[in-house]
């Protein structure tokens, strides 16, 4: 399935003619990213169509296209999240998942019985139900960008629940996984063209700074390398 065209338009509009992105990126990252987008034909393995559209839109709002570069959807965060759903992490095999499950003070941490894959499934369905009820039958992905942002803010700060999931718990899951997708090694499906690392100036798997312990505040001169040897 392709990235929804609305996202693509937003990205292109946000970037073309933006001088400061050239300065930050320092090279042709955006062009590569665009190219990888046109090559992109990732079919989600876990998420259904409606969930996939939700995820693409939400990732792009959390990590938007701007003068600093493309959004998280274009960088492959939805693909990353989809692939994570079928790992031990996605199945909740890294968490203590024995009952009884009780709600507690927030500072005592996650207490739901849902592993990430079930959390997404429940919360996205409930979020779209909420949107349909409040926006004449539309889904989250069909809303305007300002409406999507307003809704994510509501999830982040509000006290509502989405199915069994407190909305802020879902939002934080989404925010964290989106950023993981943008900034992890491209091995996992995100960080396309190493654009996440390039944005921050992180050199990836170089992991040898013998000559750069202290250069008195000069910027590190080399671009990132991935585990597979991809460079940007």
């Amino acid at each position: 399935m392709k990235i929804p065209s609305s996202t693509r338009r937003n990205f292109t509009a946000g970037l073309l003619g933006s001088a400061s992105f050239w300065m930050y990126g320092g090279h042709k990252v955006w062009a590569d990213a665009l190219q990888s987008e046109s090559l992109q034909s990732y079919e989600p393995k876990y998420f259904n169509r409606e969930e996939w559209l939700f995820l693409n839109a939400a990732c792009a709002r959390i990590f938007p296209a701007d003068a600093h570069g493309p959004d998280a959807a274009l960088l492959g965060a939805p693909e990353f999240i989809d692939r994570q759903m079928d790992t031990p992490y996605g199945h909740g095999e890294l968490w203590y998942m024995s009952g009884p499950f009780k709600e507690g003070a927030p500072n005592l941490g996650y207490q739901l019985s849902l592993p990430p894959r079930d959390l997404y499934r429940q919360a996205i369905a409930a979020a779209n139900t909420y949107v349909r009820d409040h926006h004449q039958g539309q889904t989250f992905a069909q809303l305007t960008i300002p409406e999507q942002i307003a809704l994510l803010k509501l999830f982040e700060q509000g006290t509502m629940t989405l199915g069994a999931v407190p909305a802020h718990t879902f939002f934080e899951q989404l925010r964290q996984n989106t950023l993981e997708g943008v900034f992890s090694d491209p091995l996992y499906g995100g960080n396309k063209a190493l654009a996440g690392w390039t944005l921050l100036g992180f050199p990836g798997a170089r992991a040898d700074f013998m000559d750069w312990v202290n250069q008195k505040g000069a910027p590190y001169p080399f671009g990132p390398v991935s585990i597979s040897g991809e460079t940007a």
Partner: protein
């Protein structure tokens, strides 16, 4: 089932266990070390470049305890219901050969001598009434002079890099002037200083503090330790904390001890062996061995031994004691019993300074143990009289290598957004041009902060989970706030363009969702009185004399320094007395 017998069983293949196993095999004993996790070889799963993977490493916790099998429950107060710590966050216990010693950072301290007799020192200086109601302030029952040879030994085994202040009473370097006297130099010179650390050094000196290079168990040069194993020079790759070091530069049991130990025919390491309990004789006076679950065959195995070393990490030590019935469990209402008493942690808060857009801090460059610190507000190095609290914090820049996922999820800091519009702009500025300063402080022990068995939740083997009752207290919050206040002038002297001070808030509750440190302590504390300690000054159980309990579980209160240097010294100290005294005449080494 037919039980096999060995001279000594060591539970856990981390720092404490590896040190004890090495010492006991040197003494001629047959030793079986039982480790619940997997074998871990840097050459296999710590290799370059596949280990340079933040998602698999520090984010999905490749080397940490898998909580799906066992965890703890946590509550803040006695009247609360404790809930399971379901996802790793606040602290990150290890699992597998090397324990947390494989994925630690490497800050390698000795101890502030005043901390060893903190109760005596506070009373002598400020009087008994200075100690707040409900605080269980205690002495360790051992002096710095007694421990010094073992600190020295541990540094030589770890290949520690550092700069001394005095050696045998003479000034020998520009090291920490609050540090106690040393019998010898560090085995390696101090690590290089990253830009942010050098800025901190000059700014701290400018405002009148006494900066020093953090002692680091990261090798500043090639090194061969007394066991004949080699370390390579650290290249500041930034993958200490949460990872195994592909350069063989960070000290770990795997690199610094086990290669020598594995050669010894008297030593056997059994992995995937989860110890369920220490078995006791009919009148609970002697351990007969242990029962463990062979996680490969799913069968329970009994192994007999004359001597049992519990060295499974601080809170696992306490858990095993409670499950085995060694000693009397602590009861906070009645104030009776000792097992689980004086459970402590560490206060830590992080402040951030932003520099000009021309100054790049290259946060990804770093080594886990390297940095520059001040001790002016640690331990009893300053006058607490007018301040009215006990304890203190070292303050430092310890740029250990900041990776992008952790940075991005943590957010740009200050008042900047954590997602959406404006997030990327702020994140780029923070990642490229800021630095962080920690106040890494003590945490005192309190009557209503303790460890016991949870009444509701159990592990995958049907045993009750350990329950932590823990909260921050006014004394420690005020200590943190005071010390953080002393960071402000340093940041100003650095010429920061803006800054944010991180400190504990009045009444702040312990939050299990945010990483703080894995410097948990107490619960099986050492001391001179069996009514208020679990183990004697040789870390021998008061109740079951052929059981020794080694680890930060022995600390009566949480100190400002990182614990592992002290854990290693106590391990060598206990081992020395087992070898020279206990083995000749097994039985209590101190009469209760």
């Amino acid at each position: 089932m037919c039980a096999k017998k060995v001279d000594a069983i060591v539970i856990g293949a981390g720092w404490a266990g590896s040190i004890l196993a090495k010492e006991l095999t040197e003494a001629g004993l047959s030793v079986v070390m039982l480790e619940r996790g997997d074998e871990r070889a840097t050459a296999v799963e710590g290799d370059y470049p596949s280990s340079i993977d933040e998602l698999r490493g520090a984010i999905r916790h490749r080397l940490f305890q898998n909580l799906s099998q066992s965890t703890v429950t946590i509550r803040n107060t006695l009247d609360q219901e404790a809930l399971p710590y379901r996802r790793l966050a606040a602290f990150l216990p290890g699992e597998g050969v090397g324990g947390a010693g494989l994925h630690w950072s490497g800050v390698h301290f000795r101890v502030a001598p005043d901390d060893l007799a903190l109760r005596t020192n506070v009373v002598a200086r400020y009087g008994k009434n200075f100690i707040p109601e409900g605080m269980n302030l205690q002495d360790y029952g051992v002096t710095y002079e007694e421990l010094e040879p073992f600190f020295d030994k541990a540094e030589k085994v770890f290949g520690t890099s550092g700069e001394p202040y005095t050696i045998k009473g003479k000034i020998a370097g520009n090291g920490n002037r609050f540090a106690p006297d040393r019998s010898d130099a560090f085995p390696l010179p101090a690590m290089g200083e990253v830009y942010s650390a050098s800025l901190f050094r000059s700014a701290a000196a400018n405002v009148g503090y006494h900066p020093y290079a953090l002692p680091a168990a990261n090798a500043s040069a090639q090194y061969t330790n007394p066991y004949g194993v080699q370390m390579g020079p650290c290249n500041f790759c930034g993958y200490c904390s949460g990872y195994d070091c592909y350069m063989y530069s960070k000290a770990s049991p795997n690199v610094n001890i086990l290669p020598a130990l594995r050669q010894d025919p008297k030593f056997t390491l059994i992995t995937k062996a989860h110890v369920l309990k220490v078995n006791l004789d009919a009148d609970n006076k002697k351990a007969t061995g242990v029962s463990y679950l062979d996680l490969r065959t799913k069968k329970q195995v009994e192994l007999d031994a004359d001597l049992v070393i519990i060295s499974a990490f601080q809170f696992h030590n306490v858990h095993l004691m409670l499950l085995s019935g060694i000693g009397q469990p602590y009861n906070p209402q009645q104030n009776t019993g000792t097992v689980g008493r004086n459970f402590v942690y560490q206060t830590i808060t992080t402040s951030r300074a932003w520099l000009s857009p021309k100054q790049y801090t290259n946060l990804f460059v770093g080594a886990g143990g390297a940095g520059v610190a001040i001790d002016d507000f640690n331990s009893m190095n300053f006058d607490h009289g007018p301040l009215g609290f006990v304890g203190g914090s070292p303050v430092w820049v310890n740029q250990a290598g900041v990776k992008p996922i952790a940075a991005a999820v943590g957010g740009p800091g200050g008042k900047a957004p954590t997602w959406g519009e404006g997030y990327k702009e702020a994140m780029v500025d923070t990642y490229r041009h800021s630095l962080t300063i920690d106040a890494h402080g003590s945490n005192m022990a309190y009557r209503d902060v303790y460890l016991d068995l949870d009444p509701t939740y159990s592990n995958a083997y049907g045993q009750p989970l350990l329950r932590m009752t823990f909260n921050w207290k006014d004394n420690d919050i005020r200590m943190n706030q005071y010390v953080v206040g002393k960071i402000e002038p340093i940041i100003k002297a650095m010429g920061a363009t803006k800054y944010s001070l991180g400190m504990l808030k009045d009444g702040e509750v312990f939050d299990t969702r945010r990483y703080q440190t894995t410097h948990l302590g107490g619960g099986a504390i050492m001391g001179t009185d069996p009514k208020t300690s679990c183990v004697n000054r040789y870390l021998q159980s008061w109740d079951v004399s052929n059981v020794f309990v080694i680890g930060a579980s022995a600390f009566p209160q949480g100190m400002g320094y990182n614990p592992t240097g002290m854990v290693a010294a106590l391990a060598y100290w206990a081992a020395y007395h087992i070898r020279t005294t206990y083995l000749k005449n097994p039985g209590p080494m101190v009469q209760a």
